[in-house]
Structure formats: C-alpha cells, structure tokens
C-alpha cells in the first residue's frame, strides 16, 4: 500500500468525521437555542399568568370588600332608618275618614316591603349564612329563596358527607349565585337541580335546568361581548380558583359543570 492510498483513506475518514461533527454541532446548537427560547417564552407566559391572577384576585377581594361595606350600610343604616320610620308610622293616630286609613295602610305595606328588600339585598351582597354555616347551607338557602320568589322548582343534592369548608367558598358561592341569576333571567327554566360532589382532588358542582341554556361555544362568544359582565365575573372567579367551567346540552336539559381543585 503506497503513501497516496493512506493519504486518501485518511482524507476520507477525516472528511466524514468532520462533516458529521459539523452537522451534529449545528443541530445541537439549534436545539439548544430553541430550548432556551422556549424556556424564556414559558417563563414570560407564567409571569403574565401570575400577574393576571394577581389582578383577578385583587379585583375579587375589592369587590367582596365593597359588597360587605354596602351590605353593612344597607343593613345597619338604611335598614335602621326604615325600621325607625315604621315605628314612628305606627304611632300616628288616624281618625279622619276611611280614605286616609287606606293610604296609611298602603304606606305601611310599602315600608314593610322596603325593609324586606333592603334586608334581601344586604343578605345577597354579603352572605352571613355562608360564613356561619358553610357553602352547602348557603346554596340551599339561596335555592329556596329563588324557589319561593319565582315559583321555580329548585332542588339540591349536595355532598354533606365529604364536605369541608374551603378557603374560596365565597367565590364558588358567587359563581353559583351568578349562574342561577342568569338561568332565572335568560333561560326561562321551570326546574333547576344543583348537585355537589367532593372527591379527593376536587369539588364538582353541576347545575342542570330545563330552560334554554348555553353551550360552551355560546358561552365563549358571550364572554367577549360588552354586556357579558356577569359571565366575565364568573370566568374571572373560575380562573382565580384555578378551576374549570363547562357548558353542555344533555338531551332536553342544559348542564353547567364546575370543577374546583381542593387545595
């Protein structure tokens, strides 16, 4: 074997190795750069999400504080003034005919209704039942109030066995409240059924009704409309709870499923 043959052999081997190494280095640099860019994008996205969640949390907390303040003022101040007006009204002596008496009675009825309304608004703004007796009782109470006021059949099957109070019960309660109010206002339902179930991982709440409800696609569309403030609030609370919300149509009924992780 002559020297030229050895040279050519060496040249081929070195050439193959060099080309292979160059391509692999190029490939590794490409993968490394892409990974870095991907990591940066992920961290940026996580930061955005964190900021968004902090904003939602702040908004929800300030909303709750404001509701609490208005509820207290309505109950303690407006309520007290109305109650005092009622007492004063009772002490009025009438004796100038039937006409005046009927006006007096009408005014008393209106005053009673006003006191009742203020109390209802105060309770819906700040649920003391939720704080004292927990989520299940608050939902039951709200459901019976709706059934009483609007002659809709509202039934509940709530998980009392595995139920335990959660930090964010107020947000879950507000979601249920908003959803039920929407069903009452828009769906024209005659029957509503609320189910709750606690698993080791999450709380599952299902609201089904026989009215004209929303599908997931319609919900997504409405969320971005200007007037969909209620739906936006619901979505914000769901984001805050790191939960999930699904709208679906099951045969003749519509169903809303809420999944909230247990922390």
């Amino acid at each position: 074997m002559n020297l030229a043959n050895i040279d050519i052999r060496l040249f081929v081997v070195v050439g193959i190795a060099a080309m292979l190494l160059l391509f692999i280095s190029f490939l590794l640099i490409f993968i490394f750069t892409q990974r870095k860019k991907l990591q940066y994008q992920h961290s940026l996205q996580a930061l955005n999400e964190q900021q968004q969640n902090q904003l939602i949390e702040a908004a929800i907390k300030s909303e709750e504080t404001e509701r609490h303040r208005i509820a207290e003022e309505l109950h303690d101040e407006v309520g007290a003034i109305l109650a005092s007006s009622k007492l004063h009204f009772h002490s009025i002596k009438l004796g100038c005919g039937e006409y005046n008496e009927s006006i007096y009675n009408k005014a008393r009825e209106l005053l009673d209704e006003g006191i009742k309304k203020v109390r209802n608004i105060s309770h819906s703004l700040h649920s003391s039942i939720l704080q004292e007796f927990g989520l299940n009782e608050a939902i039951n109470h709200f459901a019976s109030k709706i059934a009483h006021e609007s002659l809709i059949e509202v039934t509940t099957t709530l998980d009392h066995e595995h139920h335990y109070p959660m930090k964010n019960d107020i947000s879950i309660y507000r979601i249920i409240q908003e959803l039920l109010n929407n069903i009452l206002t828009h769906a024209k339902a005659t029957k509503i059924h609320i189910i709750s179930e606690y698993t080791s991982q999450k709380l599952i709440m299902k609201i089904s009704h026989n009215g004209k409800g929303l599908t997931q696609q319609r919900f997504e569309e409405l969320r971005f409309e200007k007037n969909g403030l209620g739906l936006k609030n619901i979505q914000n609370r769901v984001i805050f709870l790191k939960g999930e919300l699904h709208f679906s149509q099951q045969a003749a009924d519509y169903e809303i499923d809420i999944y909230v992780p247990i922390n």
Partner: protein
C-alpha cells in the same frame, strides 16, 4: 455471524425503506410530505433492482449486470424530490436560491453527462453527480435550520419536517466525502471502498428511521 451482518447491511438499502413505508400504510400524510412519500416508493423500486442486479450480476446478461446508472437515477430523483419538499415548506428564507438550485442542477446534469461523463457508465457510478447532490441537499437542510433559529418558537420544536430535514442532513453530511471519492477508492482500494459503503448503508438506515419518525409524528396530529 459477520457474514449474516454483511448480508443485512448489503440489503439495507431495500429493507430500511420498509420502515417509513410501513408507517405510510396506516397514516395519512399532509400534502407537504408528498415528495418524501414519492421518494420512498421510487427509491424502493430502484433499490430493489440495484440490489438484485448486485447479487445476481454473475448470472445476468452483460448489458444488465451493472447497477451504476440506477444509482445515478436514484441520486437525480432524490435531489428533485427533496428540493421540492424544502421549497414546499414555504420558509421565507433564501427563497430565490432554493428555487434556482434545481435549475442549476439541471444545467449541471446536461453539461456533466453531455460532455464529461456517461450516465449509463458500466464500470462506475458518477461520483461527481452524487457529491453535488449531497452538498446541495446539505445546503437545503442547513437553510431549514437557519430559518427555524430566527423563527418564533412553537411549543414543539421536534416537528415532522424537523425529523426529515435532520435525517437527510445527517445522511448527506456523512456521505459527501464517500460519494466524492468513491470512484477513486474503487480504483485504488477496492476493499476499503466496499467497507466504506457499509458506512453509507448504516447512514441510510438512520436516514430512513428519521423519515419514519417524521411520518409517525405527522400521523399522530
């Protein structure tokens, strides 16, 4: 044992193609993969004939006992199909060059086989053709990655075309010098040339595995 291994490697240009072909049978590929799919079927037919000629060259008529022109044909088809694959990806990067290269390759074919070499040469394949094909395809492969580096990153960087471009890049990078010097080696060091062709065969298996991975990933989406 070594003999069996050598037989497996000798036929690898055929059986390696069955790996992506088998995935093609149960997955539907997007339109951009059409040139690669065509390559698999064309290459399978050509390589089967190549290996049959090689194994039965002793009993075949003298005019049919050379497979060198089939290697040339394989090389021409490989270049045009893979260049159309890269052009079909519509990456807005070096577009004019990528579209001009097939025309340059046609001019090269006409000049080379018109004046310098015989496409149907009985004794040797065209080292010049295969090495030009390899270097041009390496350019396509590298331009793919250069564009991707500047592009906004998707969630998955290991896309279907990534596997195909990587497989092809590895194959042509390894084989450029083999193709370039193969004719010289067959004249001066026939045994070394035969051994070196095993390196080509191994890289061809890897190339097909990468294509198969690309087809598989595309079938999953």
């Amino acid at each position: 044992m070594l003999h069996i291994l050598q037989v497996i490697l000798d036929w690898s240009e055929v059986w390696a193609l069955f790996i992506p072909a088998s995935i093609l049978l149960y997955t539907k590929q997007p339109a951009i993969h059409k040139p690669v799919v065509l390559y698999i079927w064309f290459a399978m037919v050509i390589n089967i004939i190549i290996d049959i000629i090689w194994k039965f060259r002793m009993i075949l008529p003298i005019g049919l006992s050379s497979n060198n022109c089939l290697y040339n044909l394989h090389s021409v088809l490989t270049f045009f199909l893979f260049s159309s694959f890269f052009i079909g990806l519509k990456q807005p990067f070096l577009v004019k060059i990528k579209k001009t290269l097939p025309l340059i390759f046609i001019v090269f074919l006409l000049i080379n086989f018109g004046f310098y070499e015989d496409f149907f040469d009985y004794w040797q394949l065209s080292s010049r053709l295969l090495s030009v094909e390899a270097i041009l395809l390496l350019f396509y492969s590298l331009s793919y990655f250069l564009f991707k580096v500047n592009e906004n990153v998707d969630v998955n960087i290991f896309t279907t075309d990534f596997w195909i471009a990587t497989g092809l890049g590895l194959y042509v990078a390894v084989n450029f010098f083999i193709f370039l010097l193969y004719n010289e080696l067959t004249i001066h060091m026939i045994n070394f040339a035969i051994n070196l062709w095993n390196v080509h065969n191994i890289s061809y298996i890897v190339f097909n595995l990468f294509i198969a991975k690309g087809f598989y990933e595309s079938g999953k989406h």
